[in-house]
């Protein structure tokens, strides 16, 4: 006889997993659009992209802003640490990984990199990035809200200013670090949250600004 609400005792205990993201999923975004607007206020802005290089993104930013773009693929560093079983060493690694000067960047594209970092590493990276953003500059990031095992990295392709395409690639299994809104605000000391939107995919898309 069925007992409503009771857990099946004989079934396999399956850990929650990240919803399998469809390849080349296309999403619409307002926050990213606002990031572009914010960055566009600077003539020839300097951008910092923490994801793997995407040729079409480079063309997009180049044509739109005639900018300088620093590409620092932290995902490859994260994967390298994960494969060596040295995920805990990421905080120390990130303390010196980025060499951009303070107050030198107009726009930072973090994508979802904080999902793959533990709290200590996230704090170190957020502090470094907050210090780099110039007055009036912006930082775009997204934060997952469900504690799941991440099986893939997502490479974000800018299709248009309000449209992003997600391409997935395999990752060493990583528990997602879920951050509360107040924790996120504290992490980026010196920046303020200009906009935050919770997507249907349980991702919190966030735009930070330096006042």
């Amino acid at each position: 006889m069925l007992k409503w609400g009771s857990r099946r005792a004989d079934g396999p205990q399956v850990a929650p997993a990240a919803p399998s993201a469809p390849a080349d999923a296309i999403v619409t975004t307002k926050v990213f659009q606002h990031f572009l607007t914010a960055v566009g206020h600077q003539p020839s802005p300097t951008l910092l992209d923490l994801g793997a290089v995407v040729g079409s993104n480079v063309s997009f930013f180049g044509e739109r802003f005639a900018c300088k773009l620093h590409v620092e693929d932290l995902y490859s560093d994260i994967e390298a640490h994960a494969q060596r079983g040295e995920r805990a060493a990421m905080a120390k690694f990130l303390a010196t990984r980025l060499t951009q000067a303070p107050d030198s960047i107009d726009g930072v594209l973090c994508w979802d990199v904080f999902d793959f970092l533990d709290r200590a590493a996230g704090l170190v990276l957020a502090a470094r990035l907050a210090g780099m953003v110039r007055k009036g500059g912006a930082l775009y990031a997204s934060f997952g809200t469900t504690a799941v095992e991440l099986k893939h990295y997502t490479k974000t392709v800018v299709v248009a200013e309000d449209t992003l395409k997600y391409r997935v690639s395999p990752a060493t299994l990583t528990p997602r670090t879920v951050l509360l809104t107040r924790d996120i605000i504290k992490m980026f000391d010196g920046l303020i949250v200009a906009e935050q939107v919770l997507l249907k995919s349980s991702t919190r898309e966030t735009l930070f600004r330096r006042p």
Binding site: A66, D73, E161, L198
Partner: protein, 181 residues
């Protein structure tokens, strides 16, 4: 040795320096004219300059100057140098800085570590890139085409476009969960 072979295209590994036929297909940066090739067994340390298009399949360390011409770093090419050229095609490995007055094209098998300055940059999927890209010589919004201007005007008309820098001390008002899509 320097006999021209009309069938050979640039980028094909060769064993030594030779002149090759012009390439008629590919990107718009290719010139019709003589294209020199540095073969894969050649190692050059120092300064390399030319007034013709050049394909490098060998190793070059130092400085490369082709101010008016196209430099192609072939699949076997290994460059540790500062490069100045009109246009650069990267199919091999480059460690160093590239300055191109027209375009840099990093192909899918290409690898680049360094700083790159060019008004136009194309990076293929699968290419390795680490460093910075300076496109500040590219067309500014003021130089945009009429279609772009119309698009920009439409963007400006959107309410979200007027996103001023927040005032110091402004209250933090995250709207988590406010606009599910």
């Amino acid at each position: 040795m320097f006999k021209r072979d009309e069938a050979v295209k640039p980028g094909v590994p060769t064993d030594g320096p030779r002149a090759e036929a012009p390439r008629s297909s590919g990107s718009d940066m290719v010139n019709i004219g003589t294209i020199g090739t540095i073969g894969k067994s050649v190692v050059i340390k120092g300064e390399l300059s030319a007034s013709e298009d050049l394909t490098i399949e060998g190793t070059v360390e130092g400085k490369i100057e082709l101010r008016q011409n196209v430099l192609t770093i072939g699949a076997n090419g290994k460059i540790k140098a500062s490069v100045f050229a009109k246009a650069v095609i990267v199919q091999g490995e480059v460690h160093g800085n590239i300055t191109a007055t027209e375009k840099v094209d990093i192909r899918d098998a290409g690898s680049f570590d360094g700083d790159l300055a060019s008004p136009r940059v194309a990076i293929a999927d699968g290419a390795h890139f680490r460093g910075s890209i300076d496109m500040q010589g590219a067309s500014k919004p003021a130089d945009a085409k009429p279609g772009d201007a119309a698009k920009a005007a439409a963007d400006a008309a959107k309410p979200a476009a007027a996103l001023p820098a927040p005032a110091p001390g402004a209250p933090v008002a995250p709207a988590a969960g406010s606009i599910p899509r």
